[in-house]
């Protein structure tokens, strides 16, 4: 095999990097998807957990009709939205934080850093992958809900649903990167992720509706409840317009997460 022959040759296959930015982005998403689906653990846990929870909730609360406790909705109408929300949290925030911390520890991020791929392209590819996984999760949960007789979102709500998923997904990705930037080793990532997430989903009414004005006031300023509320609105009403206040809170958290990530993110494990 001649090496010299190659270097003398002029015709080279242009990689996606030479084409438009979108090509490179698609390249990144494609390989993120490949890595994800090949790993039986990540694929199973990401999709099995929300579907199992939804199936159990369907069996538990299927008989509870519209009530004031669920803000005038049936129990399952309520849970389809909140479990969908928590599955997006899982795919965007938890998964991303753990995956990044692990990749950094393994040296995979350093390998990425060794190529001309920009940090921007890498993260946008990763983020798009996470949001895609979140969307698949939401579709699965909606399907399980449908089996239990929960109606699909009104057609007028699809744009709002899409905006909520993309904005929420992006904000939780930013927070996931922020957490990955703040832990120093991969072993610390899962407990830190859970420590933040667990109380947050409870006070945000994910598993049971909250009727305390104080708690709702606090949770309303945190990222999970606005996401729940925006999804609940899209899934169960046909109100016009968009939930701007919820979007505003999500956007601010997304910006805060990005700021921490940009300042503190490391590509290589700490050596000294």
């Amino acid at each position: 095999m001649s090496i010299t022959a190659h270097r003398a040759a002029t015709g080279r296959t242009p990689g996606p990097g030479r084409g438009p930015r979108l090509g490179l982005l698609w390249h990144q998403i494609r390989y993120e998807q490949l890595s994800f689906w090949r790993n039986p653990q990540s694929a199973l846990f990401t999709f099995a957990f929300p579907v199992v929870v939804m199936a159990i909730f369907g069996a538990l609360f299927g008989g509870i009709g519209k009530s004031a406790f669920y803000y005038g909705r049936s129990a399952l109408q309520y849970y389809v939205s909140t479990i969908a929300a928590v599955s997006v949290l899982g795919s965007c925030y938890s998964q991303l934080a753990i995956v990044l911390a692990t990749r950094r520890q393994n040296g995979i991020l350093k390998r990425v850093r060794a190529t001309p791929l920009s940090a921007f392209a890498y993260f946008v590819g990763l983020l798009a992958h996470c949001v895609l996984v979140g969307v698949v999760d939401v579709l699965l949960i909606t399907a399980v809900g449908r089996i239990y007789g929960v109606s699909l979102p009104a057609a007028s709500q699809w744009p709002s649903l899409a905006v909520t998923l993309v904005l929420g997904g992006a904000a939780f990705c930013a927070l996931g990167v922020a957490v990955a930037s703040s832990v120093h080793n991969a072993e610390a990532a899962p407990p830190v992720v859970q420590l933040v997430l667990f109380p947050l989903v409870f006070v945000s009414g994910t598993y049971m509706p909250i009727h305390s004005a104080v708690l709702n006031g606090i949770a309303g300023a945190l990222p999970v409840k606005p996401f729940n509320d925006a999804l609940l609105r899209a899934f169960t009403t046909d109100q016009g317009g968009l939930p701007w206040r919820d979007y505003g809170v999500l956007l601010l958290w997304g910006i805060a997460g990005t700021a921490v990530a940009v300042r503190r993110f490391r590509w290589a494990p700490r050596t000294r």
């Binding site: 010299t4 190659h6 080279r12 990689g15 390989y31 890595s35 390998r111 060794a114 190529t115």
Partner: protein, 309 residues
């Protein structure tokens, strides 16, 4: 043409400790340059500064005409250099071909994926998952990733650690072939054999400084050093009976150092023949690269390294 790598007065400090204090060297285009040194001598820090992974405190660094500490030209530098490092890893669930193709997509003018896989000797394993590769195969994949961007300069961090002797010879030949193809290579190694076999020039770094630089054959005055003649004294003679000055060693052999090897050997053999005896275990050698290396790097490492640059 200017040198591929120029380092002048490089300093790097961690807190109050100067890990690198005044390192200077140059690597010519198309040569294999080996950086040797014990762990903690500043070798890794120097390499990481050249590779653009670490900032510096003082000094000038020029890699293919670019400053690796300059963010504005970082991507340009990444297009031109290839890295094969110890602590670099890839996704375990992708196949060999997918892994190489993924990185190819990150460069504006990559080499052909199958050609590179073939070049590093992974042909036939394209569809194998990375996690199922052996240690040596993974190192070859690392090399493929270092080459996929068609670099003009390749950094190799201990390229054959963990290889069996056959794989090692193969890797050395491949590295020589890369040099023939015009790629400049900067490598680190702990193996003196490797430096001797591969490197056109060697620099030894110890305690944050370059203590010697030259061809492996001439490093530290090896080529001009006195030859050593060693043999067992035939009983009942003593060192005093010998026609040349000699020093007895703990292993029962005496050592004679000589700047005029032919003459000294002649005197010794004539002396032995006249007594009708033999010089048992006779060997003649010069200091090996390892001897020179050990002498150069044998320093009191407990000494504080806080001196100002």
């Amino acid at each position: 043409m200017a040198d591929a790598v120029v380092v002048e007065g490089l300093h790097k400090r961690y807190g109050t400790v100067w890990a690198v204090r005044g390192v200077s060297f140059a690597v010519e285009h198309g040569e294999i340059f080996a950086l040797l040194g014990p762990n903690g001598a500043g070798k890794t820090t120097t390499m990481e500064i050249l590779e653009g992974f670490r900032g510096r405190d003082l000094g000038r660094v020029d890699v293919l005409g670019l400053d690796p500490g300059e963010r504005a030209t970082e991507r340009l530098l990444r297009e031109r250099i290839g890295l094969v490092l110890q602590d670099i890893a890839v996704e375990p669930w992708l196949t060999v071909r997918e892994t190489v193709a993924r990185d190819a997509g990150c460069y504006s003018a990559p080499r052909d994926v199958d050609e590179v896989i073939d070049l590093v000797g992974l042909a036939g394993l394209e569809r194998k998952k990375v996690r199922a590769l052996s240690g040596g195969q993974k190192r070859r994949l690392d090399l493929a990733l270092g080459l996929i961007g068609d670099p003009g300069l390749l950094f190799l961090d201990e390229p054959t650690t963990g290889f069996d002797p056959h794989a090692r010879r193969g890797a050395w030949q491949l590295i020589r072939d890369l040099r023939e193809a015009g790629i400049t290579i900067v490598l680190t190694t702990h193996s003196m054999d490797e430096a001797q076999e591969l490197a056109d020039r060697v620099a030894v770094i110890a305690d944050g400084r370059i203590v010697a630089e030259g061809s492996p054959a001439a490093l530290g005055g090896r080529d001009t050093a006195r030859a050593r003649i060693r043999f067992a004294l035939p009983p009942p003679t003593t060192v005093a009976d010998l026609p040349v000055p000699a020093t007895p060693g703990a292993d029962g052999l005496v050592t004679v150092e000589s700047a005029e090897l032919t003459r000294t050997l002649h005197r010794l053999t004539v002396w032995a023949l006249r007594r009708d005896t033999v010089l048992a275990g006779l060997t003649v050698d010069r200091p090996s690269l390892e001897d020179v290396y050990l002498r150069l790097t044998d320093q009191d490492h407990s000494a504080p390294r806080r001196s100002a640059p």
